[in-house]
């Protein structure tokens, strides 16, 4: 690996010229404050971008861009790097004209249908919560075999933000919902696709489902549904309806296109599982990961992300020998429910090939499975809900490869 290493050398003159010759910035006057009223990352960070996976989709408006997980720290995803999934393109909607309607599938579901302006929604009691959002199709390309080189493409339909909004329960209470009858909610967007998804009333009653306008301290980004988005913690991203315009309360699920033709999971025997909403416990090592080249032998911190749609991550184990032996990783606090959790483990790389894996366990004691275990039950044609343990092969050259084990 030495070939690529940027060493820390003592040059001929008795020291590193970067120290001995003071840099320009130590000897001059820099830029003024508020050069930019809304700042941007360093120019040296231009490699850190969301990206599309070549050949994955036939159009760019019904498509996806992946977050660069391999370059992120901690648990918060910068909003500018949040993954995107659009079905009919994204819009920047004028919030003064946006409305939210609450209605029932028939008169018995609630006392009175309501209309809210954004001004009104933003006056109501709000909460702020950190949650991950993962597309149900994340890692879907890898069900059969290795298909992509980096964790950006394999796991990058995943992001995590602090969301601020009004618990949907408050709005339904205002409408006088009959919670005995209305056990399902339809969420509908205002974009061309007018995305619709069914959400169980239990989740709303728990207070977890939010009608959200805030993300990481500011308003939602247009790509994430400005000015209003449903936040459905633990549930696949497609249910987090963007440009939210309507909530209907009903007594049956709705069989919408994205829960009756897509986001259904083909099982061995030819049946599809329908209404598979929960994102099960999963994890991935992000450093080192596919497409990277380690600079040197020696000490590394193996670091990655773990999450569960059923609650908190309880434990993450890491293997460097392809799953033969495991060590329990450190979890960074706070560990929050239905939120990314950063784990890490110290490792000294001896320069020999190594197979890195992580395995998360959640508070329900569900253990993230291997491909072998997952495929034994579900085959390899589900498309959705691939939460297998991921393997990265660190080669002697230092280059890291995406691999799957037999």
């Amino acid at each position: 690996p030495a070939a690529l290493a940027r060493a820390n050398p003592v040059a001929a003159g008795g020291g590193d010229p970067n120290i001995l010759e003071l840099p320009e910035h130590s000897k001059g006057l820099g830029q003024p404050v508020a050069t930019d009223g809304y700042g941007r990352p360093s120019k040296y960070e231009s490699n850190v971008q969301r990206r599309t996976s070549p050949g994955l989709t036939q159009t760019t408006q019904a498509s996806v861009s992946f977050a660069p997980l391999q370059s992120l720290f901690g648990i918060v995803t910068p909003s500018g790097l949040h993954f995107e999934r659009h079905h009919q393109g994204w819009w920047d909607i004028d919030p003064s004209k946006h409305r939210l309607m609450i209605n029932g599938s028939d008169d018995k579901m609630l006392k009175k249908p309501l209309v809210f302006t954004m001004d009104e929604i933003m006056r109501l009691p709000s909460v702020s919560r950190f949650h991950f959002i993962e597309c149900g199709a994340n890692t879907g390309m890898e069900w059969g075999n290795v298909a992509v080189p980096t964790c950006q493409y394999s796991h990058g339909m995943l992001s995590c933000s602090e969301f601020t909004g009004v618990p949907l329960k408050i709005l339904l209470d205002m409408a006088g919902v009959d919670y005995k009858r209305g056990r399902y909610v339809l969420a509908e967007g205002a974009d061309g696709s007018s995305m619709t998804r069914t959400v169980p009333m239990e989740l709303i009653e728990s207070g977890q489902v939010l009608v959200a306008y805030g993300q990481n301290g500011e308003m939602l980004r247009p790509e994430q549904g400005y000015p209003l988005r449903l936040v459905v913690p633990g549930v696949q991203g497609v249910s987090w309806v963007k440009y939210l315009r309507r909530i209907e309360v009903g007594d049956q699920p709705y069989g919408t296109k994205d829960e009756a033709i897509h986001y259904i999971d083909l099982q061995p025997g030819g049946l599809h599982r329908q209404y598979t909403s929960t994102q099960e416990c999963k994890s991935v090592v992000t450093t080192p990961s596919g497409g990277q080249v380690l600079l040197d032998k020696g000490f590394y911190q193996i670091s990655g992300l773990a999450w569960s749609g059923r609650g908190k991550v309880k434990r993450v184990d890491v293997s460097v020998d392809g799953g033969r032996n495991w060590k329990t990783a450190r979890l960074q606090e706070p560990v929050m429910s239905k939120c990314l959790t950063r784990f890490s483990l110290d490792w000294v790389w001896d320069g020999k090939p190594a197979l890195l894996q992580s395995r998360a366990t959640d508070e329900t004691n569900y253990v993230q499975p291997s491909y072998r275990q997952l495929r034994a039950v579900r085959g390899s044609r589900s498309i959705y809900h691939n939460n297998s343990i991921q393997t990265w092969l660190v080669q002697e050259s230092g280059e890291v490869k995406n691999v799957q084990l037999s």
Partner: protein
């Protein structure tokens, strides 16, 4: 809730009518109306075929809508080719188990670049034409709110769904969140020597672009220069 007096107002019937366009599997929400296969062909060729192909077979903008279903599937309500992993892709008609889904989706989202521009008659008609192309209904058929429940009984994959799984986070469906895969957190000597069974072939090395431009330029690692051959 008087606590929030002055916030929100009652929606008018016109407003609800303007936005409440969803159609459920039991056809709740389906507006009265009808449309013939013949009319559907017209709509299709004028407004749909450019993207989905004259026979709904194109995968230029999306996976094909029609194909892969058989007369036998119409009888059994299970699409046999879903078990044939050598069959390329899965068409819409191979998967969909509820005809309401087609009506609802075409009505709300198609044509892709002009959603919500179709009349109800056009939606009935083009849905009929799609089913006709899939061998579900005959050329002379007129689909309507009155007969759509009968058509539902012919859908090739109508018996193809199960909710017997642990991924519905509510009580109305599913098995109550019981997982199907049961792994154990073994810590020592868990498996025999691991063998690499799948990896990206060298010729695909640069398929996702030069990875050296896709990793941060500082830190414990760099990105692999995939414009050059790999070193082992």
């Amino acid at each position: 809730q008087t606590a929030f007096a002055g916030i929100g107002r009652v929606a008018t019937p016109q407003e609800v009518a303007a936005w409440d366009i969803d159609v459920r599997p039991d056809f709740k929400g389906l507006p009265k109306g009808s449309g013939s296969v013949a009319k559907g062909q017209e709509v299709w060729e004028g407004k749909c075929a450019s993207c989905h192909g004259v026979f709904g077979e194109s995968n230029e903008v999306f996976s094909p809508l029609v194909g892969g279903t058989t007369k036998d599937d119409v009888k059994t309500g299970r699409v046999a080719r879903l078990n044939d992993s050598s069959f390329p892709g899965r068409t819409t008609l191979m998967k969909v188990a509820t005809v309401s889904t087609l009506w609802d989706y075409i009505n709300r989202a198609m044509p892709w670049n002009a959603p919500k521009s179709l009349s109800h008659e056009e939606v009935y008609a083009v849905t009929a034409y799609l089913l006709n192309m899939g061998g579900v209904i005959a050329d002379g058929f007129t689909l309507s709110d009155a007969n759509i429940a009968d058509v539902q009984k012919l859908l090739p994959n109508r018996n193809g769904m199960t909710t017997n799984h642990g991924l519905w986070p509510g009580k109305g469906m599913g098995n109550g969140s019981k997982p199907d895969v049961h792994a154990l957190a073994c810590m020592k000597d868990c498996i025999a020597e691991p063998k690499v069974a799948s990896f990206m072939p060298d010729f695909a090395r640069n398929n996702h672009g030069d990875l050296s431009q896709q990793q941060r330029g500082v830190g414990p690692q760099r990105g692999a220069d995939t414009t050059r051959p790999p070193a082992a």
